[in-house]
């Protein structure tokens, strides 16, 4: 397993550090660059146009609840096909009014993934062309992938508690 950062990534990291004062974290040869929410559109545009990161592989978020500043990290995983490189951008977002600008104008793929952010994390995406829920039905309360959303465990039926649960289970009628 390769343990250090790819040499070809060094100029890219340097450019990101000087232009956006991004901070760098490295783990198992993966490069994570932290940028501010207002810089993300420019940062992605730069990476796509100057450094051939044509593909936005993944766009997701992590919830660090109960920590609130920052509560979320929004993650942009980029891939360069031409140079065979990967880089990850992380945008810390605070918990009180989580907000990131839309990147659909840079990568069209972000459209659905950002709708997923809106739906599953309740992170507002400013300027999104179609900010509806994507996976959960309309009218669902809460955002499932937040840590304070309960998993929704129901007690399974076994022999010893079969009758008790049977009584309260909402069986459908004809």
């Amino acid at each position: 397993m390769v343990k250090t950062m790819d040499k070809k990534l060094e100029p890219i990291v340097k450019a990101m550090q000087s232009k956006f004062s991004a901070t760098l974290e490295e783990f198992r040869a993966e490069v994570h660059l932290f940028v501010k929410p207002e810089q993300i559109v420019d940062a992605l545009t730069l990476l796509r146009d100057e450094y051939n990161f044509e593909l936005l592989s993944a766009l997701t978020a992590v919830d660090y609840h109960p920590q609130s500043t920052p509560r979320f990290h929004v993650i942009y995983q980029l891939t360069s096909l031409a140079k065979n490189l990967s880089v990850q951008l992380r945008v810390p977002v605070n918990g009180d009014s989580p907000k990131v600008p839309t990147v659909t104008r840079v990568y069209a793929m972000a459209n659905w993934r950002e709708r997923e952010l809106i739906d599953m994390f309740g992170i507002e995406v400013e300027g999104h062309p179609d900010p509806r829920r994507i996976l959960m039905p309309d009218g669902t309360e809460g955002h499932p992938l937040r840590k304070d959303f309960p998993l929704g465990y129901e007690e399974p039926q076994f022999t010893f508690n079969f009758d008790e649960i049977d009584l309260r289970k909402p069986y459908a009628k004809e």
Binding site: L135, M136, P137, T140, P144, F149, P150, L151, G152, Y153, E154, P156, Q157, K169, P170, Y171, A172, K173, E174
Partner: protein, 162 residues
């Protein structure tokens, strides 16, 4: 029945109308083509050449609920799908039967969480549960044959009550 002995070997069989109707229902049961998740693939396998469900008069999967009398709920039912499933069930003509295929449809399976109904019996009344994740095609065929057993025991009186 009594008549056979008198008629002898004349090729006449007597039975009740209930038996004839139930027998014909079991031999031409049209399931609804209703695949939800993984179990749908095993349902397709059961339809395909190797397991060949048409041996039991089930070669026709109908895509429309209005033409089918057996609903095989093959897979997990999410909270978003539940109302749709119910509407499909309501659109099927009487008499109708439901098989909950697989663990997810029977009791929620491994997905004990916010998104999945813990058993499709919360949405539609179920006649036969087939266990397995996913059940093998043989298990599904066994489930179908169990439905047939149930159908054979139906009386007009019971069906009228439904």
């Amino acid at each position: 029945m009594g008549v056979e002995q008198k008629l002898g070997n004349m090729g006449v069989v007597t039975t009740t109308l209930e038996n004839v109707v139930n027998w014909s229902r079991t031999n031409a049961m049209w399931p609804m083509l209703f695949g939800l998740a993984c179990c749908a693939i095993e349902m397709m396998s059961a339809q395909a050449a190797h397991y060949d469900m048409s041996r039991f008069g089930m070669e026709l999967m109908r895509a429309s609920p209005r033409q089918s009398d057996l609903m095989i709920v093959a897979g997990r039912v999410s909270k978003k799908m539940g109302p749709v499933l119910r509407r499909l069930y309501d659109q099927m003509p009487e008499p109708k039967w439901v098989i909950a295929m697989g663990d997810c449809a029977s009791c929620g399976g491994v997905f004990n969480n916010y998104a999945i109904y813990q058993g499709v019996d919360e949405v539609v009344p179920v006649d036969v549960y087939v266990a397995g994740c996913p059940p093998r095609p043989e298990a599904l065929i066994h489930g179908v044959l169990t439905v047939y057993e149930k159908v054979k025991g139906d009386t007009f009186k019971d069906l009228a009550k439904r």
